[in-house]
């Protein structure tokens, strides 16, 4: 029973979702949107679980003061600070001037001018929704612009360094195929750099007839060999995903119950 019920749910829902793809009737479309809605609701609750687990783990680590406890403390401080700035930031928002808003509305849309002033909602003392409105909540906007954005961009920027070290280490023409790959990589790298591609064209391909422009060669490499290889991988992936789906639908594999069935 403990095994059959989840399997039944997975199979029935799986087949229904596949059917929905081919059968566009109202009922099935409605079913799909309801399922998507449930997914979102579950996601929202799971987020609470996730955040709770994050806080708990880091709290314990910070309290024990073991190795690296400072990281845990920073995580908690960061979480609390950002949370407070986002949710309580609404308190620091200066009330809007209603006169100004009305003027803008009437100027830009004469048709809307007929709306009674009383129809505009009364100014609330605290607007929770405005907490994340960065044009108003300057505390949150400051933290976002000057703490979160630079940190996020820094991690992404590490890629430049890692690409260089990985390329130096791994791109070696050990045999013919590796050599071809290396050649293609160098052409694309130089073709994608405006400086080299421009001077290649100016100094070489404009004077020597049979040497094409570096940009064109790059485009060709990206568009044909690259896309061909990609499609090959995608055919395999598509069929493998189909295979995996069938294995799950017929119960050979039950990832929702940790691994293979039976």
């Amino acid at each position: 029973m403990r095994k059959q019920v989840p399997f039944l749910i997975a199979t029935v829902m799986g087949i229904a979702m596949v059917a929905q793809f081919f059968i566009p009737t109202h009922g099935l479309v409605q079913m799909q949107s309801v399922v998507l809605l449930y997914g979102r609701i579950i996601g929202a609750f799971a987020l609470v679980l996730g955040v709770a687990s994050l806080i708990r783990i880091n709290w314990i680590r910070a309290k024990r003061k073991g190795e690296g406890w400072t990281y845990a403390a920073v995580t908690i401080i960061g979480f609390v600070a950002m949370f407070l700035a986002g949710s309580l930031g609404g308190f620091f928002i200066a009330p809007e001037e209603p006169a100004e808003t009305a003027a803008v509305t009437s100027e830009s849309a004469p048709a809307e001018a007929a709306v009674e002033p009383a129809a505009t909602p009364p100014q609330k003392s605290y607007d929770f929704g405005a907490g994340l409105d960065m044009t108003k909540n300057r505390v949150f906007a400051w933290m976002f612009d000057y703490i979160y954005t630079p940190m996020d961009a820094t991690i992404f920027a590490l890629l430049a360094f890692y690409v260089a070290s990985a390329a130096y280490r791994a791109m070696r023409a050990r045999d013919l195929t590796a050599g071809l790959l290396l050649g293609a990589a160098i052409i694309v790298m130089l073709g994608r750099a405006p400086l080299t591609s421009y001077y290649w064209d100016q100094l070489i391909s404009q004077h020597v007839k049979f040497i094409p422009s570096l940009g064109d060669v790059t485009e060709w490499l990206m568009e044909y060999p690259n896309t061909a290889a990609k499609r090959g991988v995608y055919f395999g992936v598509g069929l493998a995903a189909l295979g995996q789906s069938i294995r799950i639908l017929v119960g050979l594999e039950r990832p929702y119950m940790a691994g293979t069935g039976d």
């Binding site: 509305t105 809307e112 996020d152 390329a167 080299t196 421009y198």
Partner: protein
């Protein structure tokens, strides 16, 4: 006499295993120095993916409506925001209305900043010439198909809680099929989702702007016409800036992307140089090994799978 080849081999062997921190220093210098030298702009040659997108917008009559979806966060801002700026300039210069939205939580804030700056440049007004609809969770399928049925079903208000009924520009955008072009700027595969839903199901042309890391993914979509054009990485943004200037849309369109091209070019050259050094060193040390009769093969790195 016997010492000479030994010393040589040592040089090649050490070139085969340059410490990664040395590589990092070279990359750092190559990236930062061009930024510190003012006016070090490199000439940019435009490529078809960017040209196609430019042509698509150029072909839109004034008064058209375009969606720009800011599907990226702060991390990829340096790469994708120049695209947004250039696209917004192009649209506003042709009196095309822009509807900004986002599948990324941080997207609307980024879009807000860019649109406001460019709108000021062109004397455009929020709610008349552009609208920022904000972030919508729930995934592209639900949101795009929801917009196909009616924008107000998905976005009852704009980002700042203004009801859509109070926004004059929204009278031109009741449902997705009112839109002439959807552009998704993304560090992941959101343009694919736009092509899959907005283009395939609703028939609205779509375009993309993606980070260089993701660029290879999108050539197939250009071939099939699922995307009318695509800006590939910062180079794509620089190409668009170049297109704006050379087609006299905006003489001052050169921005951070064009500026960044010098850094990018230098970094590419440094990487190619290191790759070349590694290969020459490998070749020389293999030759030396063969000469000295040793059959031991030394790889430069750990075993790498095929």
């Amino acid at each position: 006499m016997a010492q000479q080849p030994h010393v040589k081999r040592d040089i090649w062997a050490s070139l085969l295993k340059i410490d990664r921190r040395i590589v990092f220093v070279f990359i750092f210098v190559a990236l930062t120095v061009p930024f510190l030298i003012p006016g070090m702009n490199v000439p940019v040659e435009t490529q078809p993916p960017a040209e196609k997108l430019f042509a698509a917008i150029e072909a839109l009559p004034s008064g058209s409506d375009v969606i720009i979806s800011f599907d990226y966060g702060p991390s990829t801002k340096p790469e994708l925001s120049p695209m947004a700026t250039a696209l917004a300039r192009h649209c506003f210069s042709r009196d095309i209305r822009i509807y900004a939205m986002a599948f990324y939580l941080e997207g609307p804030a980024i879009g807000e900043q860019i649109l406001r700056e460019v709108a000021e440049e062109y004397g455009k007004e929020e709610h008349v010439d552009y609208v920022n609809l904000g972030y919508k969770p729930g995934g592209p399928a639900a949101v795009i198909m929801g917009m196909a049925a009616g924008v107000s079903q998905v976005f009852p208000t704009d980002k700042n809680n203004t009801p859509l009924g109070d926004i004059p520009a929204m009278s031109h955008f009741k449902k997705l099929s009112d839109i002439e072009l959807c552009i998704s700027l993304s560090a992941s595969t959101y343009p694919e989702a736009w092509a899959g839903f907005a283009k395939a199901r609703v028939g609205v042309p779509c375009a993309g702007g993606v980070t260089a890391v993701m660029a290879a993914d999108f050539y197939a979509f250009l071939d099939t016409g699922q995307l009318v054009g695509c800006l590939m990485g910062m180079a794509g943004a620089a190409e668009y800036e170049e297109l704006l200037v050379s087609n006299k849309v905006n003489e001052n369109a050169y921005g951070t992307a064009t500026q960044g091209m010098a850094s990018q070019s230098m970094a590419h050259i440094v990487i190619v140089a290191f790759v070349a050094i590694g290969n020459i060193a490998m070749y020389m040390s293999l030759r030396n090994q063969r000469r000295s009769g040793s059959r031991r093969r030394k790889g430069g790195s750990r075993s790498v799978n095929s």
